[in-house]
Amino acid sequence: MKEVKRIASLAKLSIKENELESFVAEFNKILSYIDQLSKADIEDVSPYYELNRQDRFREDVVESYPDEVIKKIAPEESDSQIVVPRII
């Protein structure tokens, strides 16, 4: 229960008290599902992160993005700056 609350606060989600119980149940279900992984035999398997894109680099060349994306995606904008509720 405490853990669910902490995770919710880290994810900036507000969970109502009466929803907590059901979340705990769901979390447990997910965790037990993940637990299956730890049962796998990985004795002879080395870690694998590699995507099939060896040494993919860009040269240091500037390209400007043609559209002003910001105007399309920012809910509110002032002098090209994105406007959000005051942070501090």
Partner: protein, 475 residues
């Protein structure tokens, strides 16, 4: 109880690549807000980051210069936190497997500060917060995604002065390497400091306090000085030091609490699935090694040896690679390298510092010429001192200034004799004093001759003639 400060620094170095770390947006400073953004640095769905080769190369350069171990394979991780300067909700950084490990930075007294690691990451955007009734913040993401190196030291720094010397040294090295402009004011060099105090009889450390966002050498020193005083007072009055993050208020030179350990971030790092592992081959390192220039410490040692100048002058002249090159260009034109070193460090730099000009307004051959004219006895050091401000102002060469202003030294003995005679005549009182054994008044006479000739009389000849006249009539 003696308390010793234990300081570790985390320094962020903004790299001077043309484009960002993972997308081709420009890194130019001061552009219209959000004009340097694209789907990658705005974290639009489906956009994929691609590593900037140059940024990695700059990292390799610094690692080679500081003697770090270069990991053949390192990895990018996601560091999660919520703040509107970070569109993705995470920063791409390196956590478990940094690209560069270890290394040292040597300070002037020979003390070596060991590095824990240097890793590659991306910068965040910038927020401006509304004041007063304006309850909005304004977000500019031009800086989001600009490549950074984060350098972490071991807690081996023991004073605020040492911390700022460390940072100056880092700035000097990154500028020599040409990987960052190192401007603290523009945020190209930023620093967080960890500090705790320990009784010097004990090996246990007090609780650690982190001071964030120190953006000038002065701030670093002031914040640490305040923090040492604050922690000392707490310890001596038996109060506990809270483990926390603090910010520095430059207006009052104090630090204040930003957040305590309890609500500190949990970054939940995990491997960045959008990027391949970063592989740095021996061949690549060898390639980069060829581009490493002579570093400041080596250059300084060479200058002392090759040009026979003082340690101090060599330190001043190797402050930047540009100044060092300038000095060497002067020395190519004239042989008196020690005199040239002195002219640059005391005359040229003094005047250009005052006017805010770059030292290069005076051409290297002009400095060489001034030194040559001094060697020939055509001008005195006094005239040389007058020449530098005039050369800086007009950009003219010393010969034409000397001609125009009539500054050529008077070495003609008969002319000087006449002047000396006239001065002795109106200062009989001092002549008597001299002859009574008060030889100190010689200085007075030299001064009078110089005044009359506006500094142009050859001081050696003036001395000779004065002594001859004062002593000769002494019988």
């Amino acid at each position: 109880m003696q308390l010793e400060a234990v300081i570790g620094l985390e320094t962020h170095i903004e790299l001077s690549t043309k484009s960002k770390m993972f997308c081709p947006c420009s890194t130019d400073f001061g552009a219209k807000p959000n004009s340097h953004t694209c789907p990658v640095c705005l974290a639009l769905p489906g956009a994929l980051p691609v590593m900037n080769k140059q940024a990695v190369e700059y990292g390799i350069k610094l690692a080679l210069a500081l003697g770090c171990d270069i990991s053949p394979v390192s990895r990018f991780d996601r560091k999660q936190y919520f703040y509107p300067d970070l569109p993705k909700g995470y920063q791409i950084s390196q956590y478990e497997y940094p690209a560069f490990i270890g290394g040292t930075v040597e300070l002037s007294e020979g003390k070596r500060i060991h590095l824990t690691r240097i890793h590659i990451e991306e910068d965040a955007g910038k927020n401006i917060h509304g004041a007063g009734a304006d309850n909005h913040s304004y977000v500019d993401l031009n800086r989001a995604g600009v490549p950074l190196l984060e350098m972490v030291t071991e807690p081996e720094i023991t004073s605020p002065e040492e911390a700022s010397e460390f940072l100056r040294k880092i700035r000097q090295i990154v500028r020599y390497l040409g990987i960052s402009d190192g401007n603290m004011e523009e945020g190209s060099l930023r620093c967080d400091a960890n500090i705790s105090l320990k009784p010097n009889s004990s090996s246990t450390l007090g609780n650690k306090v982190e001071i964030k966002n120190l953006n000038s050498f002065k701030h670093v020193e002031k914040a640490l000085r305040f923090e040492i005083k604050r922690q000392k007072e707490l310890i001596l009055s038996d109060q506990e030091i809270a483990q926390e993050t603090r910010l520095f208020n430059p207006h009052e030179s104090v630090t204040y609490s930003m957040r305590s350990k309890e609500d500190s971030f949990e970054y939940r790092y995990f491997p960045e699935p959008d990027l391949p592992l970063l592989k740095i081959s021996e061949e690549w390192i060898a390639e980069v090694e060829k581009t490493i220039p002579e570093l400041p410490d080596d250059k300084k040692t060479r200058f002392v040896k090759q040009y026979g100048i003082t340690d101090y002058d060599a330190g001043v002249l190797t402050e930047s690679a540009e100044l060092a090159d300038y000095y060497e260009a002067c020395c190519k034109k004239s042989a008196n390298s020690a005199q040239i070193a002195h002219l640059i460090s005391t005359e040229l730099l003094a005047i250009t510092k005052k006017t805010g000009q770059d030292f290069s307004v005076v051409k290297p051959e002009y400095v060489a010429r001034v030194s040559e004219l001094m060697d020939k006895g055509s001008i005195s050091i006094k005239i040389a001192k007058q020449l530098f401000p005039m050369m800086a102002e007009t950009g003219d060469d010393p010969d034409s200034i000397i001609k125009k202003k009539g500054l050529m030294q008077i070495s003609d003995s008969s002319a000087i004799e006449k002047i000396v005679d006239s001065i002795l005549e109106v200062n009989q009182e001092n002549v008597t004093k001299f002859r009574a054994g008060k030889t100190k008044v010689l200085g007075f006479f030299v001064g009078e001759v110089m005044k009359k000739t506006r500094g142009k009389a050859n001081p050696k000849i003036v001395n000779q003639i004065l002594l001859k006249k004062l002593n000769a009539d002494n019988g």
